[in-house]
């Protein structure tokens, strides 16, 4: 069996796929890759099914040594260290992949041709950091088994996709289910300022800081279901943008949703970056 040895993990590296849809009614969230577009691209570039298990690396730092020849690709945040990005590359037995910190973006996806052979839990190999379901995050010294190659490699050297944007980012929002719990001034403040991503951000959600939003009512809202992209407003008035490992239900009002196509870009925001929400 072909194996990759984990030399270093950086702050957090997990196995991800497209998660566990269909189980939310029993309290099991979807989880899965935070930036699904980059994750899917990685698998396509090495000829895997789009939903094969891949690695999600948070702010670089991953080291892998090939114990036999493998084809690897990195997508998403482009890490320093010189490994070709968005370009499938052979890593010979005995050679290592070492990802430095990315120049922009936060999450890098590493796919191996054949996929990582991980035992699924409830239909998915994703680590759900909120519920603890799925495999544990990667640890140094672990051996990652590589699956069998499914089909031909695509005839592509480098995928022409832009890197995650540094600096200020703008994403589109739509009014959410509890827009009516906020005065018009709060909506104007939501879409009229650049919010700053705080360090209290993870796979569950991005905590934003800025000028707090006022609510029209302090009446309690019974918990209700939500999906990724929800902008929930706790009593602090500072919105939380939910990502892949969000809770299945929540009790704070959701003022707006980021359109699904833009949530992947939000998953690449790093602390200190500013994001504007526009209709």
């Amino acid at each position: 069996m072909r194996v990759l040895r984990v030399l270093a993990t950086g702050p957090l590296t997990t196995v991800q796929d497209l998660g566990r849809p269909g189980r939310a009614a029993t309290g099991i969230g979807r989880s899965g890759a935070c930036d699904r577009a980059s994750y899917r691209l990685a698998n396509r570039l090495v000829g895997n099914p789009e939903d094969a298990p891949a690695l999600e690396v948070t702010y670089g730092g991953l080291g892998l040594r090939a114990e036999s020849d493998v084809v690897l690709v990195t997508t998403g945040a482009r890490c320093s260290g010189g490994f070709p990005h968005n370009a499938p590359t052979v890593l010979r037995a005995g050679r290592s992949l070492e990802l430095g910190p990315p120049a922009s973006g936060l999450r890098t996806y590493v796919a191996v041709r054949g996929g990582f052979a991980v035992e699924p839990v409830l239909g998915s190999c994703s680590t759900d950091t909120l519920s603890g379901l799925g495999p544990a995050p990667l640890a140094s010294g672990a051996a990652l088994a590589v699956g069998t190659s499914p089909g031909p490699l695509p005839a592509i050297d480098v995928a022409p996709v832009p890197d995650p944007a540094p600096g200020d980012v703008t994403v589109q929002v739509l009014e959410g289910p509890r827009r009516d719990r906020f005065p018009d001034a709060a909506w104007a403040a939501l879409v009229g300022q650049a919010w700053t991503v705080t360090t209290h951000s993870d796979r569950v959600g991005i905590r934003l800081t800025g000028r707090p939003l006022a609510r029209s009512t302090e009446d309690e809202l019974p918990s209700e279901g939500m999906v990724r992209g929800a902008l929930q407003v706790p009593p602090s008035g500072l919105p939380v943008l939910f990502l892949a490992d969000h809770p299945v239900t929540g009790g704070y009002p959701v003022i707006a949703y980021v359109v699904d196509a833009d949530v992947d870009r939000c998953a690449q925001l790093r602390p200190g970056q500013r994001v504007s929400l526009r209709t």
Partner: protein
């Protein structure tokens, strides 16, 4: 019924009360509209999550508006395996730390709390909080129990509790503010099992007093 927007991949259906949630969820779970990935009931709402490659929010909204809710107490007749109408007995040792407090709050004695809790037929209304945690309601339990003023940092797995109109069983050790009246040895959630959650929305539950549970 109000249909509320949730971005480009979901809608939230708000209904009058929990009874209406149970009826709408049972009908939708028995025959989900095509392209719907998840149906998530809660206290006043049902969330429908779609695969935008397979359907549109407009089609799903139309399907919801055309759905005839099941009556709340009407179990599924077709055994579709969605949890609606399944029956589960949960053996309980009624020796919870808060049993006497609950009795005092309700003006009953502890034996009454146990008898009425065990005589009631419960239904899982919705999940949330943790995988496999069900919020159970019962027409035979028409009282509200306030949460503990100070939540516990550690509630053991299998603890049987009360809060508001709900009863529930902790599927694993976690913090919690529910009043604990007993415990069960039954496994509520097992990721190696399909379905992993013993208690799913629509499941009928009876608590069976068992000193050895």
């Amino acid at each position: 019924m109000r249909i509320l927007p949730c971005g480009t991949t979901a809608i939230l259906v708000e209904v009058a009360d929990l009874e209406a949630v149970l009826g709408l969820y049972a009908a939708l779970a028995a025959s989900p509209p095509p392209g719907v990935l998840d149906i998530v009931p809660a206290a006043r709402t049902v969330l429908l999550v779609i695969d935008p490659g397979l359907t549109s929010l407009g089609e799903v909204e139309a399907a919801v508006r055309a759905t005839r809710p099941r009556r709340g107490a009407e179990p599924a007749s077709d055994g579709t395996g969605d949890g609606t109408g399944d029956r589960v007995d949960v053996p309980v040792a009624y020796d919870g730390e808060d049993l006497d407090d609950v009795a005092r709050l309700l003006g009953w004695d502890a034996a009454d709390v146990v008898r009425r809790h065990a005589d009631a037929e419960w239904t899982v209304a919705f999940s949330g909080f943790a995988p496999g945690f069900g919020y159970l309601v019962s027409p035979g339990w028409p009282v509200d129990v306030p949460r503990r003023s100070a939540p516990r940092t550690r509630v053991p797995s299998g603890a049987v509790g009360l809060a508001g109109q709900f009863s529930g069983v902790y599927p694993r050790e976690s913090p919690g503010g529910w009043q604990l009246i007993g415990r069960t040895a039954i496994t509520l959630f097992d990721p190696a099992r399909e379905p992993a959650a013993l208690l799913r929305p629509g499941t009928r539950v009876r608590f069976v007093p068992d000193g050895t549970a």
